[in-house]
Subunit: 215 residues, 2 copies
């Protein structure tokens, strides 16, 4: 059975998946980029950028496994764009340039209709206005038997967890304090929702915890 | 210079240092005992109980280092006792039996006076009613040049952090979800208070993060 999974979602030691004050200048919130330094250090990430170098080992393995058996991605509107409210025009096509690192259909949750955007390298951004379940249905269909990856952010992950639709959640706890921002486990009783941690390993740059839904 | 340090303070993946509903039946809150399974599994813990067995390795090393160079301990009232308000009598002498695992002077923060309790094995429980700074002063004096360990709980640690009095905080992030309880980083901006994480290692049963105050 294809599953819905979150992979390598970075949170700070104090629990935040994004820093305070998200916007165009700080898509991940103030100092939110520090959550992803462990990613940038890997060989897998460098390869994705067409560059040499980077470290192998645990973090590199997690980045590579993050894309395995994934046929489609779902993300929240704020992960796709700093724009709030209706789309003013068709200019914004994501944070990732002309060839985004997805290479498969991406479904963006939004309240505002927009025509799909085909990008280079196989990524198409589709906009879903009829809710998280409809998005999941479309993503599973597009994935053709493979898993669907839920990219984030915090609010989107929480919605899928509360709806009982998320099968697995891998978080990377990074050794920084953000002091504020969006907290992943904010008013979210993961235990009552059936999640258990089945793995906890650390590279020094990130402690990887894998949570699976047991019921 | 002697320092004030927190060592091996366990928090859940969702950030709680104690479960919900603390009381006589659940001194650590509901399911809070799960926070300490990594401790009970170590050889060092078994030795403290006068028993054989237990695992060596990373967690064992952290437990042993937790007591190194410590001359006194400070703890909050709720860590010493489930009783709230005035002491009704002198019966309660802590959770740890007649020979508590401290073996040095312990200073309990409380609003209610009580005479010191000498226990077996070198532990004396002293009750401090004039605030956290007075307790620290007395503890440093009692420690005779060694460090002072701050035991907990969450509220007490937060008070010392906010007052700029805590030099180091080692947390053990354990692979369980509690869903509620007392959150260590609740309205606590550790970054603004000057703390940085300088180490992150995992045994599989706990990821140990060491935070030191840099300014």
């Amino acid at each position: 059975m294809p599953r819905l999974v979150v992979r390598n979602f970075s949170i700070s030691l104090d629990g935040f998946g994004a820093g305070p004050g998200q916007g165009v200048d700080n898509p991940l919130g103030v100092r939110g980029l520090e959550l992803h330094e462990w990613v940038f250090a890997t060989r897998a990430w460098n390869e994705l950028q067409g560059e040499a170098g980077g470290e192998e080992g645990l973090d590199d393995r997690f980045i590579r496994q993050g894309d395995e058996r994934i046929g489609a991605t779902i993300m929240g509107r704020n992960m796709f764009s700093p724009i709030r409210g209706p789309w003013l025009n068709e200019d914004w096509t994501g944070w990732w340039g002309e060839n985004p690192p997805y290479h498969h259909p991406v479904f963006v949750l939004t309240h505002h209709r927009r025509t799909p955007i085909p990008m280079q390298g196989g990524t198409t951004f589709n906009f879903v206005t009829d809710g998280i379940e409809a998005a999941l249905e479309r993503a599973f269909e597009a994935a053709g038997g493979r898993d669907v990856r839920l990219g984030g952010g915090v609010s989107t992950i929480q919605q899928y967890m509360r709806a009982g639709l998320l099968d697995e959640l891998s978080v990377a706890i990074v050794p920084v304090l953000l002091g504020g921002g969006e907290r992943l486990f904010d008013r979210l009783d993961g235990r009552a929702l059936g999640y258990e941690c089945v793995e906890l390993v650390s590279s020094g740059m990130a402690a990887h915890a894998r949570l699976v839904r047991k019921n």
